[in-house]
Symmetry: C2
Subunit: 685 residues, 2 copies
């Protein structure tokens, strides 16, 4: 309340900066920043608590720009408040190697919490950030020590509301009663195709009420700063529901084209910017000009945030005296480090141990390590009993009022919402205190491809427990049997795809996944039982690929993953007995990790002078990088008992042997066979 | 109304068949079929119009089982009504090569309209089927000739309702006022994780009202056949809205475990089946027993359907007299054939034609062929102006009341709903009269991965116009620049991924995509301008790969796609001038189509005796199958003007030449270089 001309000067400064930057780079989206400048000004100055000098302060309020194309809004705010983002950075908007790329990227730009732009992701990340806050508060707060009480604010547009991933996450947020989450819908009636009435005429308010959200409307988001403030305040007071403010705005406010899709994704014309600056009292001859009054006002708020952090640091120091163990745990988590010795809990197997499905081996890992790693927060997209993602004594993360769990609970019932789950995990990981993992069938990780891609790009540590990883799932049939999935995610940069062959490799997969601070992992696990292999040890598994079975003067190397490794071992025997062929076996549970090993080691695993054959019951794509010949499945699978399905496609010792014989024969006249690992030049990475 | 014991006998027969089949195969989901048997009985006998002897009759009512795991319900119905699905087929449930796989597959089983099981897809397919009906009716129906007036019915469960893809499709269905769509929600309160209250407590009815649907509730779906009938009747009468019936049922009705998730995904125990049969008056010693009365009743309804088709055939014969051109068009469409000579409309270019972005070339193709191919129904996920998917004179597919178009319109405004769009296209294609295509950025086809997979598996002809296909999109940056996407879909069986290099190749891409009746296509198109290449002609392009630039005694083959082909051509000159290296160039717009060519042809393109280097600005995965060395981008891109981004990553004539030199050098000592196309054995396909 009590807004003055100074406030409007700041608001118009943001608008002009957005117009200048997009004009300067001849690219970008001025419309959303110009329309949302008023709410941003009110939110950041009247409500948000943050310290630009330490963008990682734990108890800061989180802000997510789900309509990430409007990033000039966020960049302008970061600059005005004094984050490490200069006016030159604004001038470098959308140029190569700048910290102001076309959409906000969390790993590059201080003050950006999550990477947004692909629509629907940001609001779903915000749900994750809100879950993380609730969980961290329930875990660490004590009487008189409200260590963590931040809010998560999220701006989103019509596009985000249309995306299914947002529907999934918001439905869950309502169920979870996340009162710490406040979203602002930029209800500007415009999307790229023009007026939203061409495709989007649902009653958004009613839908969010149906999800269990608190819904507020502000009719004039262009002028009514008091109304905006009152709305946000009302949302903060609704503590048992997430809130959404339907904020009616004019896209590109101030432009001659305001209110049309002409200002959505293209810079304003020069004469339009001129009239804009004149209208707002700016010198039309100047660009990137910020009135000192605006800097002063924003820096004042930033200083209040710095002071708030100082207070918080004192509170935390006292907390550390009263609760030294909790304080140490929290500090450790924030660094991303795991507790010393945690890995001693990883189960180790010998060949005499029973054959077990790797999904079950995964359950054992989780059950053994969860006590040592309290930051683990698990879940499943309604396949808990199939993914085996829940340790027995786990408490569900649920609103206490449901009687089904509490916010300190470490297991999330995501419902059948794979994409939402993936995007929520990205938010959980971004909060700083949580290491999220979740389960679904490997085939349905594809539903979440948009979120997995952003895990990789934004370099967060999330783990997918991807069970039922092949035709080996059997009867559910081709609709559920992955063929292309591993190739897909192996082709995604900065994503580790694991397919362990037995218990020790499963432990190895988790070891690397959990200790890789900046990389997501997908662990593909079998439904069917797998024997514990002779020669498999964790220390080898963590190299991503290793010699499982060595033999002198081998005729061929069989290279395999997961459930096919043990069949290869049987094929070795079959080849020796029936074809007098000596085969060595390489297990290659993770391409990406193997690729990171020294070339000398890699060539010891896949050496020159010997032909190689890969065996994996799915697309052969990508295997040509490692082996000379490939036995796989470049077609859809079949519904039936898994042994029948394997037999149909000849993934049997005999079927492998047949192809091994063909491989040896085909390569026998080639002198000096080169390992495919030898390359003419290095790849760009 | 007027239901008797005979009806209950039929209902219980379905329940017992579901219990028997899942028990017999020791796998599957008895719960949903047992709970939904009453509504299925009423719907199929009192409302649905179909002829089991001709499952392809155009004006049949469509039925979609979105909760596809309950497929024993559908298989039982198909059997009882006399489709080509015997009692032995039911006994072969979930066994290899049966027509009764673990989830319904449209291409294998007569009477199955679309392939379901992956949750949320079926209801979205149903939206597509309903759009198709509305469009076909608006296009072909005439006064006194209601050729097409069928309904689309869809059963779905809680899981489908939680999936974002369903939210997207249902929001659009409400906007489109599809009164011909009637969904039945199996509101049984159970999902795999147990009671739905652990994750799904939203007000579904209110949400669907918010979407603009007509919502009806039936409180006792286990017993109230009259109520079910009245509800369906009320939905049929709501002609300006899609309808959903919230049907409260008991999962696994009749089992000792009814109402629990114990009956969801596992067969009943022997003693449970025994009591079930006794309770329902069946002989507990018999399995797969169908009372003759049930056959008689169901066959009677089937005969009515056959008679209805006969009447329809007469109507159509009269229609053909009155409207011979329309009748011929409709008959042709139903065969999936294109009109003779349509391909003459494909634009042809010469090297002197201007450089044009391939997304623009795609627009030209669509504009030139749309009149010849009236079955083309286009759209975009809110990127019309970027994807260039709409020809100038197109009319939008919209409810006439909106004033924005009509149901005869051939352009759908999908909104920002990529996954829904993909699943809707699968339904559109399945209807039989439509050839759907739609646009989004290539990167966001990944959002629809679940639907694309089912396009491929169910063998439907749909086309993705996937623009902004690489780092060449420039300023939008890494969040929008595909790296893994082509590898992903190239690894998907039965999916053609095209990346044309110029105008003639764009025409070739469309030619093959449009004439491939049983295969979906993704056409990746540039944002930036591309020159018209010397040596590119449609006849070569349709082979998927061909020699664009030949040279005698070449030192190296450069193999490339799309926007990098013209840079390779420049690299040829650079190599000749600076390194005295002779390079030939192969353009490879589509792996899958190239793979289908005779080996002799393939080896003429990628011959023995010469090293090869692929050049593509994305993941190199998969290229090892065709070339000896690969220049690609196994990392994320960058935000900036596209020329700067290409330069940063060295995709320039100099950068390519550097790697070509390294390749020639690396392979110079290898005698008898083998083309990678030579393989030791054939792949399973």
């Amino acid at each position: 309340m009590g807004y003055t001309e100074k406030d409007w000067l700041a608001i118009n400064t943001i608008r002009v900066l957005a117009a200048d930057a997009t004009f300067h780079s001849n690219s970008g989206h001025p419309g959303a920043p110009m329309g949302m400048a008023p709410v941003a000004h009110v939110l950041f100055n009247k409500f948000m608590k943050f310290n630009p000098k330490n963008p990682k302060w734990l108890n800061r309020d989180r802000f997510v720009l789900s309509n990430g194309h409007g990033c000039m809004l966020q960049y302008a705010l970061l600059h005005l408040f004094g984050y490490e983002l200069s006016i030159d950075d604004l001038k470098a908007f959308r140029t190569v190697d700048s910290i102001t790329p076309g959409h906000p990227e969390a790993h590059d730009t201080p003050g950006i919490e999550v990477t947004t732009g692909p629509l629907g992701q940001g609001i779903s990340n915000a749900v994750g950030l809100a879950i993380a806050q609730a969980h961290t508060a329930a875990t660490f707060n004590k009487d008189a020590f409200p260590l963590v009480d931040n809010y998560t604010y999220c701006f989103l547009g019509d596009g985000c509301l249309m995306e299914g991933v947002a529907s999934e996450a918001c439905s869950l947020a309502g169920h979870l009663q996340l009162g710490n989450l406040i979203a602002v819908w930029d209800d500007n009636h415009i999307s790229i195709d023009g007026d939203t009435n061409v495709a989007f005429t649902e009653d958004v308010r009613k839908r969010y009420e149906a999800y269990g959200w608190h819904v507020v409307t502000v009719d004039d988001g262009d002028h009514d700063l008091d109304g905006i403030e009152a709305a946000i305040q009302a949302c903060k007071e609704a503590t048992d529901k997430p809130s959404i403010i339907a904020l009616r705005t004019t896209i590109g406010f101030g432009s001659k084209q305001q209110g049309t899709h002409g200002v959505h994704g293209s810079p304003l014309k020069a004469d339009d910017i001129k009239q804009l600056k004149e209208k707002f009292g700016f010198n039309p001859e100047e660009s990137f000009a910020v009135p000192q009054d605006v800097y002063d006002a924003y820096h004042k708020h930033a200083a209040e945030g710095a002071a708030a952090e100082e207070e918080w640091n004192k509170l935390f120091a006292k907390y550390a005296e009263a609760y030294p163990q909790e304080a140490a745990d929290l500090s450790r988590r924030l660094k991303g480090d795991l507790p010393e010795g945690w890995e001693k809990n990883l189960p180790v197997y010998t060949p005499s141990d029973a054959a077990v499905a790797s999904r079950k081996l995964s359950e054992t890992v989780l059950s053994k390590i969860e006590a040592a790693l309290p930051e683990l927060l698990g879940g499943s997209a309604d396949l808990t009993g199939s993914n085996l993602t829940r340790w027995k004594s786990a408490v569900d993360f649920q609103p206490p009022s449901t009687g089904l769990g509490d916010y300190a609970g470490r297991y999330v019932r995501y419902g059948v919402r794979e994409h939402g789950m993936g995007a929520i995990m990205n938010g959980l990981a971004a909060y700083g205190t949580i290491l999220p993992y979740s389960g679904t069938f490997l085939n349905f990780v594809s539903y979440a491809a948009g979120a997995v891609r952003l895990s990789a790009l934004s370099q967060v540590r999330v783990i997918w427990v991807a069970t039922h990883d092949s035709i080996g799932l059997g009867e559910d049939g081709p609709t559920h049997q992955p063929i292309e999935t591993l190739a897909h995610f192996r082709a995604l940069p900065n994503c580790m795809v694991w397919r362990p062959a037995d218990g020790n490799e499963t432990s190895a997969s988790y070891y690397v996944a959990l200790t890789s601070k900046h990389t997501p992992s997908i662990i593909a696990l079998s439904r069917q039982n797998l024997p514990q292999l002779e020669g498999s040890i964790i220390e080898k598994g963590i190299k991503g690929g290793y010699v499982l079975h060595e033999v002198e003067n081998a005729d061929i190397t069989l290279v395999s993953t997961g459930s096919e490794v043990c069949i290869c071992i049987d094929a070795v025997k079959y080849l020796a007995e029936n074809h007098n062929i000596k085969a060595r076996v390489v297990s290659m549970p993770c391409f990406e990790v193997f690729d990171a090993q020294p070339q000398e080691y890699r060539l010891s695993v896949l050496p020159d002078g010997i032909p190689s054959l890969s065996v994996e019951v799915m697309s052969t794509m990508g295997w040509e990088r490692y082996t000379h010949e490939q036995f796989g499945l470049n077609r859809f699978g079949a519904s039936g008992a898994y042994k029948d399905v394997y037999k149909k496609f000849e993934f049997t010792p005999e079927g492998i042997a047949k192809r091994a014989v063909a491989t040896v024969d085909f390569w026998k006249d080639v002198p000096n066979i080169r390992s495919p690992l030898n390359r003419a030049f290095k790849q760009l990475i």
